[in-house]
């Protein structure tokens, strides 16, 4: 009697446990779907509201004045002009930030790889980790204090790229070190054993064999800084014209989005500009994923 009862209890218990298990599984599935739904909604909204504004002049003309935009909106037309000043500004900023951060980051990454387990290298690694966590707005303040106040005596593209370069640096250092660790040490030793100077081993052996890892790191770092707005507000300010002068204020796509958002007449332009920015960032992400997948295969 008692054994029978306990076995009945056990089966009851089992159903309860398996129901609980099923409920938990479905909760996990539902919450996961809710978690990723914003990305679908965000991309959907950008495409839906933005594609109408994207045309030839969007990529060739500078931003319209508020008055031009107001007239167009009042007549029910598409706002004229484009964001070419933002696109060239973003290119200038990213190019200069890359010129600063990529070589320096790769060299520091090589230094960390060459000195594993040393206290000083650990300190550098930890500092670089801390740098990676510094909020971008604080980097904007720093670039303002260093470059805007002391070097260019005014808002400038150079200041913005310094802020962006400090953002890129830790990412590139980390990806360089990780990539170098994956390269078989025998490759390096073979070169050194042949009497090749060490700098040549770096240039001819280490960097070429790690090129896919390095470029993945660089592309991810660029895609991280492309959409940065806050540090640029404190450093490059914005410019309604195309500007290639590094000591002058420059516009950038995210800065234009911020301007459009604050100007009721231009508000229609935010979606196309954001769509363009997102497309740019996502393309870089996908390319870097492809490269790293190819190198792993």
């Amino acid at each position: 009697m008692s054994t029978e009862k306990s076995s009945i209890d056990l089966t009851k218990n089992n159903t309860y446990r398996s129901v609980k298990d099923k409920v938990f599984l479905w909760t996990v599935i539902v919450i996961s779907i809710i978690t990723i739904s914003p990305i679908v909604m965000i991309i959907g909204k950008l495409v839906w509201k933005g594609f109408r504004q994207i045309n030839f002049s969007f990529f060739t003309a500078v931003t319209p004045s508020t008055f031009e935009a107001m007239t167009a909106v009042a007549n029910g037309e598409i706002i004229p002009g484009g964001i070419v000043n933002g696109i060239t500004g973003t290119l200038l900023l990213v190019l200069m930030a890359s010129l600063i951060a990529i070589p320096v980051g790769i060299i520091i990454g090589l230094f960390l790889y060459e000195n594993p387990g040393k206290r000083y290298a650990d300190l550098i690694r930890n500092l670089s980790d801390i740098l990676q966590g510094v909020p971008s707005i604080v980097l904007g303040l720093i670039a303002y204090l260093w470059v805007v106040k002391n070097i260019t005596q005014g808002y400038s593209a150079l200041a913005g790229s310094v802020a962006l370069a400090i953002m890129m640096l830790p990412l590139i250092i980390r990806s360089t070190e990780e990539t170098m660790k994956m390269i078989p040490g025998t490759l390096k030793e073979a070169g050194l054993a042949l009497g090749v100077p060490y700098y040549k081993v770096i240039i001819k052996v280490l960097i070429p064999s790690g090129i896919s890892g390095l470029s993945t790191g660089v592309l991810l770092a660029i895609s991280r800084i492309l959409g940065e707005t806050a540090p640029l507000m404190l450093t490059t300010l914005g410019n309604p014209m195309i500007n290639w002068d590094v000591t002058a204020p420059t516009s950038a796509v995210p800065l234009l989005i911020w301007d459009f958002y604050n100007d009721p007449n231009m508000v229609d332009l935010i979606w196309s500009s954001s769509l363009f920015l997102m497309g740019f960032v996502l393309t870089l992400n996908i390319i870097s994923k492809r490269i790293s997948a190819k190198s792993k295969a």
Partner: protein
């Protein structure tokens, strides 16, 4: 031989750049924050009065500190169940299946969305939604900002947690299954205890991200220089007050904004250090 020594020194000297940048950062922020700390002392942190009017200037950062902490903590609370479920989905339930790679690449996409685009989406989609639910007539405030921050930090918490959950040895799980445990029991009695500190670290690092986010919060928090009184109250965060008031700042006000930047730097630094420390202990 000689070129090798030069190469060595080039590598060594390049590492000084990191020392210079991090040291210079603290030095510059401290140097420019001194005037405001000299004038107000601890009152800069404990006072709630923010008044840039010439002659009656008074700067207290407490409302912004409270705003930053409350939005970030709320973001962390919302992010917890979502990132945890998503990492279980990716690393346990559908490990190595097509579902898992779809969900994880979507999570990666979330990480790629620029802060300002989150702000726009929050302003034009999330805010009207909150208004239509009748939660708040305006839709600005701590809750909306916390919600958008939660979405922004989910990818960081998820990618690290799922890596750590996937690392729990199969033998342990199989032993529990052999004893008749259900999947859920395995998750709560085998995986969680094994991955606990790694998961905690991933949430700490995600919290550190939330503290410094600027644009999306600026667009949604309402930018009122008051201590938020409730979930739907407006407020202001440290990062947003810098972004909003920097343009017209000079003199003492500039110093006050830089001091807020310094505080933000210190707070995020400590949070990140704790998170990284836990991860380092694990590996």
């Amino acid at each position: 031989m000689k070129s090798d020594t030069i190469t060595k020194y080039v590598l060594l000297f390049s590492s000084f750049i990191i020392l210079l940048v991090s040291g210079g950062m603290i030095f510059s922020l401290l140097g420019d924050a001194v005037p405001v700390f000299e004038k107000f002392g601890w009152r800069f942190i404990t006072s709630t009065d923010w008044n840039p009017t010439e002659g009656r200037e008074s700067y207290g950062a407490l409302p912004f500190i409270v705003g930053t902490l409350s939005t970030s903590i709320l973001a962390l609370l919302i992010c917890l169940p979502m990132a945890f479920s998503t990492s279980l989905f990716i690393a346990e339930y559908f490990k190595k299946s097509a579902f898992s790679s779809i969900i994880s690449s979507m999570v990666d996409l979330l990480a790629g969305v620029p802060s300002i685009v989150y702000g726009l989406w929050g302003f034009y989609t999330l805010r009207p939604f909150i208004v239509s639910l009748g939660l708040d007539p305006q839709g600005y405030g701590i809750f909306t900002s916390g919600l958008i921050l939660a979405i922004m930090i989910i990818p960081y918490a998820t990618s690290l947690s799922s890596e750590i959950i996937a690392m729990v040895p199969n033998e342990l799980k199989e032993a529990a299954y052999a004893l008749g445990a259900t999947r859920m029991e395995v998750i709560f009695n085998v995986i969680l205890p094994g991955a606990r500190s790694g998961i905690i670290a991933s949430f700490i690092l995600a919290f550190g991200r939330a503290l410094g986010e600027t644009m999306a919060v600026t667009m949604l928090i309402g930018n009122a220089n008051i201590i938020p009184t409730g979930l739907f109250s407006t407020g202001n965060s440290m990062a947003s007050v810098i972004a909003n008031q920097f343009g017209e700042a000079d003199g003492l006000k500039m110093s006050a904004l830089i001091a807020i930047g310094l505080l933000l730097f210190v707070i995020t630094g400590v949070v990140n250090f704790v998170g990284k420390f836990i991860i380092k202990k694990l590996s």
